[in-house]
Symmetry: C2
Subunit: 408 residues, 2 copies
Amino acid sequence: MDNAGKVLIAQGGGPTAVINQTLAGIVLEARKFPRISNVYGALNGVEGIVNEDFIDLTQETSHNLEQVALTPSSALLTTRIKPNENYCKEIFKVLKAHDIRNFFYIGGNDSADTVRIVNEQAKSANYNLCAIHVPKTIDNDLTENDHTPGYGSSARFVVQAFSGINLDTKALGGVYIGVVMGRNAGFLTAAASLAQKFPGDGPHLIYLPERKFSLEQFLQDVKIVHDKYGYCVIAVSEGIKDAAGTPIISTLKNNLDTDSHGNVTMSGTGALGDLLSEYIKDKLAINRVRSDTFGYLQRSFLGCVSDVDQHEAREAGERAVHFALWNRQTEGSVTIQRTGYYSVNYHLTPLELVAGKTRYMPDEFINQTGNHVTDAFKFYVRPLLGSGLLSPAQLRSPRVPKLLLPNS
Amino acid sequence: MDNAGKVLIAQGGGPTAVINQTLAGIVLEARKFPRISNVYGALNGVEGIVNEDFIDLTQETSHNLEQVALTPSSALLTTRIKPNENYCKEIFKVLKAHDIRNFFYIGGNDSADTVRIVNEQAKSANYNLCAIHVPKTIDNDLTENDHTPGYGSSARFVVQAFSGINLDTKALGGVYIGVVMGRNAGFLTAAASLAQKFPGDGPHLIYLPERKFSLEQFLQDVKIVHDKYGYCVIAVSEGIKDAAGTPIISTLKNNLDTDSHGNVTMSGTGALGDLLSEYIKDKLAINRVRSDTFGYLQRSFLGCVSDVDQHEAREAGERAVHFALWNRQTEGSVTIQRTGYYSVNYHLTPLELVAGKTRYMPDEFINQTGNHVTDAFKFYVRPLLGSGLLSPAQLRSPRVPKLLLPNS
């Protein structure tokens, strides 16, 4: 196919710590091809295409592109818009007007679907277009991928956070609940397990959206851990649901509102972590219960990044250009396959296998009681966290015999 | 004074990322003195003293001590107990029984007060004791100190967080509120200002407990910034209060409860960030308003540390031992003075000048309108953040002329 002309790149969906590596990979690689006249970037994803908000990335220094690659969040800005057929027609009109022959959309499964629709419209208009989806998502929930760029760095943030939180909660006692992103897939929450180093380390309990969440079982789990270790650290996916599929945040609100204890008056927009904390305080009479919602820190924190994730995000962008400009393939989604421990390769996969689909944690990654992960998951996730991860240490000094009190 | 005998170390109050550097500094330095028979650590601060929960740090490898020094949180565990006279009598009884002649308590202003009381009791009992307070606090609110160990690393976390948050919010639009620790002193929240690099970068607004917080002024500030830049990033101290001294979290609850709009039903334990978000959504009709409470991440995150802070925490511990064992001083609080840009020195300051006192942000560090910091503050805080801080980059490509839409 003749795809001489212009390249257009856009970024969609939630930002990640390495999405600009992919951007830099595409720009730097595409600029090497003489038949490419310009490399454009659309601002704010598909919105920027429809509005013709383009910048000319051909006029960007390589040095600055390398610096942007190290910068978290989407340098081209982003959008939450999920285009329908008509919206895609508008997109296609603009691509045609600007003689854009190669379209790279970096995003999740919704972005893959946009690429799919735009590509169909180009085909039926007999317009030569190469439309390629390049993966990113901290949720790690794209089908056909061993994992996705963005996940490793966010997972590393979660591990570093829980490593510290384990020690902080151990030092002060009580219960800690960390609420991690992931409405449908628990991969990011599960990464917290890598914070466990010494016997007794937290997170002691991990609750994922792939398993039905029972408040009774939860209380029992917390009590057992707290009794045993004197503290309890819990990682919870924001998306946990009960047996009926109702989000726990709704269940808890009702539960606490109708409670007869009187001192619990939760309602409104209280976060899941706050609600679970109140519930534990109320039912288990543990005084010190704290929770944090990791929120936007876990996807955009400057300087917490997996080098493996950086390299793969970069390569995914470069390979996307190879598929388009060397191999002259007209459509597809770049996917990552694991080929060794640890090595990967990149394929171009039909868009319809990725578009609009969600991948979940496989059963073998979740323990039998549904409140933690398996070693198989730890084996899976470890290389994605990258190199140079600090390992906490603890004192090993012997006890001194008591002189005044009876030694116990 | 003859302080031959044992050394006892304890850690009090909230953990920090470098409090174990101070511990390692004391242990490694004290073990060099032949007249010191043992170096004990009390578990859980003063509670561990009263309960004789001691470990013998003389039997700890140097390698492991160095590893523990790199580990956040209090390796000896900690306590929130503020001992009164009677509690201090119990402490003193145990010190005597174990022939402890040197007591180092690493903590904030409450810990300094404990050291002061114990020392008085030793004096009136004619018991030779050297009692020294070694500073730590992420709040940076100890008097007589230019700054305190623990602050620089937490400040670095806040800068890295807001650097990413600025880019994340810019990419998606809307308003973001980050709630930072600091009930009385705004130093940690103010550090967010160092995340601003390019013109227009956030945090655009910074609210500190040192200034009365007005909800009307707040709304006006947010509207001006959001209109100008299309997004608005805000750093807020957890301790902000209104003109009457009422915490804003209480003011907001009442305000929102009695609001006639009907769709706001906040009550209970909703976090300050959630309440402020609801308030903005309600009053300014901005759709995307998000907030995160940085919580425990900002003081214990593994691997986000200022090397300057590490070195000073270590030196504060070493110098404490020097004051006790070389200089044979019997009491005091180790304080840090700034001697150049950037260099420091350590003094032993009378305990009563530090104990129970709080330092606030000086006026010259806060801007006139009370919604941001001055360059004087940035100059003050920059060296404390340490080396190797990543600097975000942004694209500088020229705009492409529109072909279909009118160019604006």
